[in-house]
């Protein structure tokens, strides 16, 4: 498979994740869309790692997965703390800091 196909797949997944982050009201779905974006980046990295026959891309992808795990854990912790105070999971109802 030419590497361009993988790049198009990565770009499409990135765009779908972006739409999910920007439009959904439910914060949990926003976090899931962020995971989609990170997976799109990983596909890109592994595609070039395979094309250039260099394992560095895959090592980078391992670190991205590590980072995604840490960020998901902390993000969901914040969500639970937020929900305990505000009783809602909808992004546009959390407007305490809005001027």
């Amino acid at each position: 498979m030419p590497v361009t196909h993988y790049l198009v797949l990565s770009m499409a997944l990135l765009m779908i994740g972006t739409v999910g982050v920007l439009t959904r009201r439910n914060i949990i779905v926003v976090l899931m869309s962020i995971e989609l974006i990170l997976n799109a980046v990983n596909i890109n990295l592994v595609a070039f790692s395979d094309y250039l026959q260099n394992v560095n891309g895959q090592v980078f992808a391992i670190f991205v997965i590590t980072d995604a795990a840490a960020e998901a854990a902390v993000g969901l912790g914040i969500l639970i703390a937020l929900f305990r105070n505000k009783e809602t999971v909808h992004a546009d109802e959390i407007d305490i800091l809005r001027w």
């Binding site: 993988y6 779905v29 391992i62 980072d67």
Partner: protein, 175 residues
Amino acid sequence: MQLDSILFYLFAVQILFSALMTITRRNVVYSAIWLISSLVGVAGIYLLQGAEFLAGVQVIVYIGAITVLFLFVIMLVPVSEEAKLRRFSSQLWIVLAVVAALTAEMAYFLVKGADSFQMGEPKPTIEIGTLTTNSEQIGQVLFSEYLLPFELASILLLVAMIGAVVMAKVREGAE
């Protein structure tokens, strides 16, 4: 049509369709399950490209830990019935227009620059008996050249673990 191409298109369709389902479902649990389906497709893409260690890590860490964590939190955070009415925020159409424009721009660049991806020598031919496994290659690089990022990643995970526990625990004497 080679098996390689068929598998790529199968996995690509699975990934993109599952991603679309993830961001559009009303029920958050359905979104999580569609996310799992998308991540399985990504693991398949990794296998197609010879990154079998990464495919294993993807299944174990992403599907087996992160999405399970999502499902736990979805279970703990009750969704009220009226919350199922409006899924998308009011900026849906603006976002779709901007993302469509961005996609068109990136697709144009990809098509225009497709020739520039011919970088130097083609894939080297592999003699029998000289292969190191993918895990071995990653291990060789990860513990020699990338040792510092590896240790920093472990500290990052420790900090994230502490942070998650601190954020989510119930404080004594709070209101």
